[in-house]
Amino acid sequence: MSTSPRLLVEPGRVVLSGCWTLAEMLPQLAALEAKLVACTSHNDWDLSEITRLDSAAAVLLWRTWGARWPDGLVAAELHRQVLKRVAELPQEIAEQARPRLRFPEMVGALLLKAVGNLLGMIALFGQLLLDAAYLVRHPQDVPWKEFTANVYKAGAQALAVTALVGFLIGVTISYLSALQLKSFGADLFIVNILGISIIRELGPVLVAVLVAGRSGSAMTAQIGVMRVTEEIDVLSTMGISRTIRVVLPKIFGLTVAMPLLVLWTSAVAMFGGMLAALLQLDLSFAYFVDNLPRAVPVANLVIGLSKGVVFGFVIAIVACHFGLHVKPNTESLSASTTSAVVTAITTVILFDAIFAVFTRNIGVP
């Protein structure tokens, strides 16, 4: 039995034989198509020797015939059926138009999206206030378990990585500043430089970037998958508020965990800085610790920790907002997770600038 599709041009007619299926046609597709194109003018087609005819081949033949039945067609009833299915399709199949955006439209769309996101976050914030008010009146509904789980996940489990990064940054800054200070003979100012920069600025921002990448993306992905798999809808049908059970514990959990992480990271970074100062400038730990309170007023610590609170809140609210707006497909999930992390980090830097402006007279000796 012949398997591969074959085409023979006899005087006055075209004879097809073999197995006209997609799998069998593929190895010699170009040759077959060329042969078929050469036969378009023929009107007598003999398909009776074909063993199999699938719809891909039927479409090919139908196109060759210029979308009409050839007058002299010989084919088995079975194969005629296949061809008939193709023939019954509408002739002109409209191509799926993809909307093309022009540049101004694109800018406008982006702007509208940004405004939409801002409004969404404000709405989420409002919902949060309402939920908090509800929980004050119904303390038995407070989701303690979820809250503590979030503190553990976003806080305790991040201790190692934040410590490592903090330590390395502390060593780097201390080492680089020591080189400069040494040449001015101003070794002792290393305490001021390290203290102010780490406690007030670097600690909170560093932790915020790490947490946005670590916990922010996790929150968006988790809420997003819950939307994709309709778990969020299941919660609603059980009469459980999704904001109270899913969103609120995440936001408050991170708001509580962040300042603690900031404190921890700043401490480890200071330790790294002290170590480098000891090795580079022979500055003892005791001197460093004694002089730290004098060089860095405690207001800086307060500013650093309040930054932690605000950043934690911002990261969580951005992450939850994007998670709640994931559309039920994988593409949207990945896009939302990316946007959540990028937006969270950008917003954190923005808030950091606002902090810098409004606290410019505080805590600098």
Binding site: R52, D54, A56, V82, V86, E88, P90, I93, Q96, P328
Partner: protein
């Protein structure tokens, strides 16, 4: 044209976390058979299909499709083998980021041999075959009803004109009319192309209308395999329970 059986499982064993799902399971499906795979819920029917597809490596035993071992190291042969299979997953498993049209066109585009017009016609043909409108092509999977998901998934499984079609509960979630259409569609495809079909189903009408053979999965193996009427007389609690009073209807 191929003397070796389409599916040949020999002494296949699979267990999840120490719990055996299949034990010394053997099955042999010849070309052109439409096999209804029966078994209680959780008896390992989906697992069996996943093994046949090569998605799940059995702990023991061998699986051959069209005479080719699934562990054959030749990458090209493996890929060509996969192209001869079509699978309808129990949950549909459509690509959620692609529209219905693109879902069906995807395997065709992957061949990199067909032009856009050809693909478009084929996709619309498949849509019509499973009873969907051309306008449904624009919808995203999340916008479909449960039954529509099934039909799109079937259309996608049919896209590459497979020689072996594996169907996991194809008619669950379809109305009786659509189930009947499905039975007719697969039946006519089988006659035209000599397809081999293995389908998991609990629907007696689908089984009666379509299956030529029945395989019964119970006690972690195939306890009975053969033409429909023979299997129904097997004396096993599952078989008597399953067919029960409906035994007549199938005959």
């Amino acid at each position: 044209m191929n003397p070796s059986p389409v599916i040949e499982l020999n002494g296949v064993g699979v267990s999840f976390g120490g719990k055996a799902v299949h034990r010394d399971l053997s099955l042999r499906v010849e070309e052109g058979q439409i096999v209804g795979l029966l078994g209680g819920s959780g008896s390992g029917k989906t697992t069996l299909l996943r093994e046949i597809l090569g998605l799940l490596q059995p702990d023991s035993g061998t699986i051959r499709l069209f005479g080719i071992d699934l562990n054959d190291p030749d990458v090209d042969r493996q890929r060509n083998l996969r192209r001869r299979l079509g699978m309808l997953f129990q949950q549909g498993a459509l690509f959620s980021a692609l529209s219905v049209f693109d879902n069906i066109a995807f395997p065709l585009r992957e061949l990199r041999c067909l032009d856009a017009d050809w693909i478009r016609r084929l996709v619309h043909l498949k849509l019509a075959m499973v009873g969907l409108e051309p306008t449904h092509g624009k919808l995203m999977p999340a916008e479909l009803s449960g039954g529509m998901v099934k039909r799109v998934a079937l259309a996608r499984a049919l896209a590459l004109e497979p020689e072996l079609l594996l169907l996991d509960e194809p008619t669950a979630g379809l109305d009786p009319d659509r189930s009947q259409n499905f039975v007719e569609l697969v039946g006519s495809l089988q006659r035209e192309l000599g397809l081999t079909v293995v389908m998991v189903t609990h629907d007696l009408n689908t089984l009666a209308g379509l299956a030529t053979h029945v395989a019964v999965l119970a006690d972690q193996r195939i306890i009975a395999f053969g033409p429909k009427d023979e299997v129904m007389t097997v004396d096993h609690p599952f078989v008597t329970g399953f067919f029960g009073a409906d035994r007549r209807k199938l005959l």
